[in-house]
Symmetry: C3
Subunit: 336 residues, 3 copies
């Protein structure tokens, strides 16, 4: 398995992978909100084409990737702006029936990714799925039907059964972001998937260690899968429990939290400034269910100094984590 | 058991069942927001009287109904506007102790529906419960104590034990809506109750198939009960995670979601335009916990063409669902 | 074990315990919002020092207290305003390794309370932890990085394992509030911790009976811990699902609820007027998971008449609760 792309060291280079849209995205992101100035829905946005390869991986895992041989768990972060269309050509290189099912965006029944609608790839088959998106639209009473913007996700819906239970268990999932024009773009992105008793299908100390420099803008993408219920906790950081994680002004009534339910099929995202308040150092992220964190559902967020150097004590903390986590996980396994 | 009223084909005809309030409701709904123009709390709103019959149903189920012999699972949708009072005469036609306990509204201890307060119907007994409601009221600091508006629910609180465990398990529950004046009224309403491993006390393929025509305004009422934790997912539709499911303007910070925790005692509601974005077709709603959807916690939302005709592929999808669901449910039962 | 301070009969006297800040807090609370007028972050707020004693209690419990011999479960409510710093000197009077780990506030790695960062008290050791806080700060796009205000909590992160599993199980937890200047102060505060199948490490009928007079402003502090998932329900009261529980004006889109997920590591708070809508009487609060309420996760909120006298029926309700709860709990234990 390749190094997982859930930790992107350059947002721009990651975005460049999504068809020809990278430059357009960066430009649009600096344009400010365009709501209200856009013409009819169909006319807004760009259409981007991306090919995704579903592949078997060692250890009975499966992954999505943007090029042959590059499948990862989780799959690549896919991004679009409200109004954009994503045309996904899914190449099934495996011997299993599978699909790709998105949350949040618009699709017709042929792109549902559900066997119910006959929407899946047989072994070896290539199939195109079209995901559209739209801005909010005015309704009666000065209300608006919501647009597509959100921290969404995508996953298999066809391997093993009609809900993709086997595909999800083995790694066929990833993050999907639909942004509003004007949204702030991050410096780095981390994808965290709580799936059964694992994070990104791994347990401590093999869970991802995410890294950023002090005060870099980091976007966390959190996704829940499987059968268990979890709570995501990040040490020394906090976010508003709303669409972006940031307050939309002094009268935004959203609670500010640092621990949030992360349950099957749900997703959320937020941006923090790395080490804001707490400073550089090694900070844990983990499931706050005690037996889950004990059993290996924890990982590290290394906030380096602003110049990229290691802060005091960081090496020791990493070593402790690796030792503690390995011990706890093996004890937990022994007791099962 | 009668055809369940959780799917109302005409919002007005349903509302007409709630005492004499139907016309008044429709009128009030078109009035726009009246907040701030209302006099003292006690003077606002109408008092409506409704008789509810608690009845035993086949299969060891129980239901509430608005007329003798018409009890259903879930019970009827009850609606009021902030300021209204609902006087419920509960007729207990069964041999069990039971009650009716509402969420969200105002009631004194005698209408609590809890044995703690001696508030229940003995077998064969008739008892009146009074549910009041109120608009938001100004508090210090430019804040407001919340009004009663919400997507609430009601349920038994006395059968089997002092928390109504047996009554809830067997079907004594339903939706209760308190609207603010000016709220948009839907064309159709669907009630979905996740109760143990069932939806409305049924498993696939016998779960309700909800129907609407393309772009009809549909109100989903979601309620959780029992002992298990669930997540409600609806394909190809999305809603704002706020009071109404619609954004209150471009600066509403609420996340937009398509998957939400639905746990014991909780409820939420939202409105969507049927097939907005995705178009007509058959869309699944289901619990996103994999073992729950596998075991039968899924159902269909049939979005017909605008003229009411069947969209292409819909019949096939329905047949697939019935076959798949029956197979999965029987396999699940065999493994238990 | 002393009478638990989770029910404070005078908010001011409780606050006075937190260093010299009580008067300052009360004054600041009446100042109105100071956002935007504060100079650089470091210059705002006061620094308060508090000594906390971690002690062994009867029944294999542990508690935090503000003076020797006064440890309780839950520990004392700690409060600060955004911009304040709390310097906590933790005296470990026990034979166990333990720590204090806060949610929501700012701390450097040495005050993390996590063994990962070498931040804990060995048996008999005294150690100082520094918790800072800050107001929201402007970001690009007219957004704000969140400040520290919230209904947070603190807990052990070092007893038994590297996540404090044993310390939390045995009672080392409490509420932490960070207020915005201008927030409304309550008359009374109740702390409710759902920890495994217990409330504040007790089961009915020994769970706390909270008391207030009719229309007193009561602040509920709800915290989840352990391994199980719960939903907190309060009869006859409701709150906005936002930062304060009150609506921030007529356009606040927050849902109003009376039942909310309360899961490990999460916390929320809200203010209600005791008996608003329902009047004086005895009202249940309980976990709405049926097996949990049956097994003893319920308690009473006694709303007295405005003059402090007992409302009609209250004594009977309390007696029923004590009898019912004792019976249900013993039956539950017998079946396990």
């Amino acid at each position: 398995m390749d190094d997982a792309p859930h930790q992107s060291t350059s947002a721009l280079s990651r975005r460049a992978l999504i068809g020809a849209g990278a430059l357009g995205l960066a430009t649009a992101g600096g344009m400010g909100a365009a709501i209200g100035t856009s013409p009819a829905r169909a006319a807004t946005g760009a259409t981007r084409k991306v090919t995704i390869y579903a592949e078997a991986l060692p250890g009975n895992q499966y992954g999505y990737g943007l090029a042959p041989g590059q499948a990862t768990v989780p799959g690549p972060v896919l991004e679009m702006y409200e109004g954009d269309t994503l045309e996904i050509t899914l190449v099934n290189t495996t011997s299993q029936r599978l699909s790709i099912h998105p949350h949040g965006v618009d699709y017709d029944t042929g792109s549902d990714g559900a066997p119910l609608n006959g929407s899946f790839n047989n072994p070896g088959e290539t199939r195109t799925y079209v995901w559209r998106s739209h801005e909010m639209t005015a309704a009666a009473g000065r209300r608006f039907m919501p647009g597509s913007a959100g921290y969404w996700h995508y996953h298999d819906h066809a391997m093993g059964d009609d809900h993709g239970t086997a595909g999800i268990a083995r790694g066929l999932y990833g993050a999907l972001i639909v942004r509003r024009r004007g949204d702030i773009l991050p410096d780095k992105q981390f994808t965290v998937v709580f799936n059964e008793m694992m994070i990104n299908n791994k347990t401590a100390p093999n869970t991802p260690m995410f890294e950023a420099n002090h005060l870099q803008r980091v976007e966390w993408l959190a996704i829940g899968h499987g059968n268990l219920f979890h709570t995501f906790h990040l040490h020394a950081h906090r976010w508003a429990d709303n669409r972006t994680g940031m307050l939309e002004g002094p009268s935004d009534p959203s609670p500010v939290i640092d621990n949030k339910d992360l349950n099957p099929g749900s997703s959320f995202g937020f941006q923090v400034l790395a080490g804001e308040g707490g400073g550089p150092g090694v900070w844990m992220y983990h499931c706050h269910v005690q037996q889950h964190s004990q059993a290996g559902m924890s990982g590290l967020f290394l906030v380096r100094n602003a110049d990229g150097s290691m802060p005091p004590g960081a090496e020791e903390a990493i070593h402790r984590f690796q030792g503690h986590a390995a011990k706890a996980t093996s004890e937990h396994s022994a007791h099962q």
